[in-house]
């Protein structure tokens, strides 16, 4: 057992981190916001960085890495709030021609959860293909065949939505077991993004606590703030362990229960992101309630990510079921 980042993984992490930092510097968010969250140039660069073809075998033009590597990469994408149907296009690599190279933008809808609310499709205007996960299998739909009403005010300004009334059945491209697998992998990748949010919100809050002075002292010297930050750190570390474990277990199912590991990751990273984003806003005080301070973008993105591949409640129910089955 060597449950930590390998040297290669550290290099992968550093590479994608410096890429994200250079392409999404402070202030870039406002620009992307006006492009509805999608930047075609950035998309092409992400493809060149092999973000989409990361797990595709080398013989198919990919990098041949595993889920553990992918969650590390997606944590970095989450850290800098990179937008677009990143997870779906990554999942589609090898399944839809052109997804890995970035030429075909693939979105998706997960209809395997217990919820049957309105059908809200993300990034519809950008999509060249749409995957639908149903208990019966994975279906492919031509996004141009969908008629949907654009949502004028999406919660996350970087995640535009269409309300689609009717969904065609589409073409069955993979069976039910593959749908289940894609959903697990999707949940692990989204957990990676959520981990990135838990990390960056702590980073933002800690930096602000050191620089903001009240009562003649840095607010980070007050225990009330310190203890919030400490709890944020713990949530970040628990989420990190759970997300890495999900990646490692997907790659080597012999080391544990894959479903339980992925559910644990989605729960811990989801809670870590949500609570850390809220604490980040709170530590910023009045400034945290402004549009200018990006803390709110993290909270809004967290709601987007919480809603896909199973909510905290669904995954907790699943863990309960798994404990019962193990009795």
């Amino acid at each position: 057992m060597d449950f930590q980042l390998s040297e290669d993984q550290k290099a992968l992490q550093a590479g994608i981190r410096s890429f994200c930092e250079s392409r999404m510097p402070k202030g870039k968010l406002a620009e992307i916001e006006h492009k509805n969250g999608f930047d075609a140039g950035l998309w092409a660069e992400l493809a060149e960085m092999d973000v989409f073809g990361l797990r595709l075998p080398e013989s198919d033009g990919g990098v041949g890495l595993g889920n553990a590597d992918a969650v590390i990469v997606f944590a970095e994408l989450g850290r800098r709030l990179l937008a677009g149907p990143l997870v779906w296009t990554h999942l589609a690599a090898g399944l839809i021609k052109g997804a890995a190279s970035g030429e075909v933008v693939v979105g998706g809808l997960d209809l395997m959860g217990p919820e049957s609310g309105p059908l809200l499709v993300e990034h519809l205007d950008q999509l060249d293909a749409l995957l639908i996960l149903r208990p019966q299998g994975v279906y492919r739909v031509d996004p141009r065949s969908l008629s949907g009403r654009p949502i004028a005010a999406p919660l996350d300004p970087f995640t535009p939505l269409h309300h689609v009334e009717r969904l065609p059945e589409g073409e069955l491209v993979l069976g039910p077991a593959e749908a289940e697998r894609l959903r697990l992998e999707g949940a692990a990748l989204v957990s990676g993004q959520l981990l990135g949010i838990a990390e960056s919100t702590l980073e933002l809050a800690a930096a602000y606590a050191k620089e903001r002075h009240q009562f003649g002292r840095a607010i980070g010297s007050f225990q009330a703030i310190k203890h919030m930050l400490a709890d944020m750190f713990v949530r970040q570390e628990v989420a990190r362990a759970a997300v890495y474990a999900a990646g490692a277990t997907l790659d080597d199912p012999g080391v544990g229960d894959v479903v339980r590991a992925v559910s644990t990751a989605k729960i811990m990273a989801g809670e870590g992101a949500m609570k850390n984003a809220r604490s980040c806003i709170q530590i910023h005080g009045g400034m945290g309630f402004t549009w200018e301070i990006p803390a709110h973008f993290y909270m809004k993105r967290t709601w987007v990510l919480e809603s896909v591949f199973g909510t905290i409640e669904e995954h907790a129910d699943r863990c309960a079921e798994l404990v019962e089955r193990s009795l």
Partner: protein, 396 residues
Amino acid sequence: MDLRYSESDEKFRTELHAWLEAAVPAHGEPPAGNDWYERRDYDTAWQRKLYDAGYAGINWPKEYGGRDASLTEQLVYYEEIARSGAPYIGVNFVGMLHGGPTLMTEGTVEQKARHLPYILKGEQVWCQGFSEPGAGSDLASISTRAERDGDHYLVTGSKIWCSFAQLADYGELLVRTDPLVPKHKGISWLILPMDAPGIEIRPLRTLAGEGEFSEVFLDHVPVPVENRVGKENDGWRVTNVTLRFERGTAFASEMVQLQQFVAELVALAKKVTRYDARAWDDVALRRALGHVAAELDALWAMVKLSVCESTKTGVPGLGGSAIKLYYTELYQRVSELGMRVLGRANLSREDVAGLPNEMVLGKELNSISLAIAAGTSQIQRNIIAERILGMPKEPR
């Protein structure tokens, strides 16, 4: 990033598992109630069996008779110990986890020879004399005085929260040797022979009733100068060596036990009724149990991550504070859930109508101490905020 135990780890597991399968039932049930001397016999006899089988001091270096197991073998050890229901480390946890490791790094050759082999064989039991009525979180403000008198110190003061003091042979004792310098600079670390004259031990009644804790009163107790560990007035640094061990993987077996406890609660929830149905049919309760099961898995992954990362440095890192904080608060949520599953039956501390009250209430009452002992949760948060996140210090 690899979670797979190596072949040699699994071989170690197979051997240990086979040994435990025979040894645990043969050792019998622990003595009931509060007969602490029987408890000492039970625990130290088990320690001796571990020693004879080569499993004592799993993390102790070979030169002190330990197994010097790799960190992943230690994880295997804690998993197997918990799953087999083997006796808890018991009355000598201070000797095995704190006193012994401190002597290894800070003790003289003579001190090591006089204590380490006997601790390991279960022949020498240690207790801790750190906290005082006036010095808890602010441990460095201790006021127990040690005055030099020839080749002895004469120690006067009082200590509290001393586990198993009434049956210990030695105590690790923090004393003030220089009251005139800043508080961290006038402390020394002594080995206190518990049979020295002038020691009075009074059992402390905790919220759990009778228990393992005592107060220890010291009145001109003579302690040989050769029992000092480290230099005079350098005791604070020596103490921090011990505290670091305390925040390492000390809780690993209990974490695995807690996972088993959640499974037992699921079984219990299927047995007891609510609204004419099984408690297990209550979605909120089921979801809460699933949630803590996930949290415990995440905690165990966090321990593995921390263990693998610390293989490089060799010492448990500051991340131990995060593990301790998360573990103790999670433990409290789990034990509260246990109380809720029991329902009104939880008013009885003894088993009633076939329900496992003693176990559930034992967990609930014990859980309260975890967030206080070995650095309160609030102190852990200060450590994380100041030493890891670099926040400015409180005025102290």
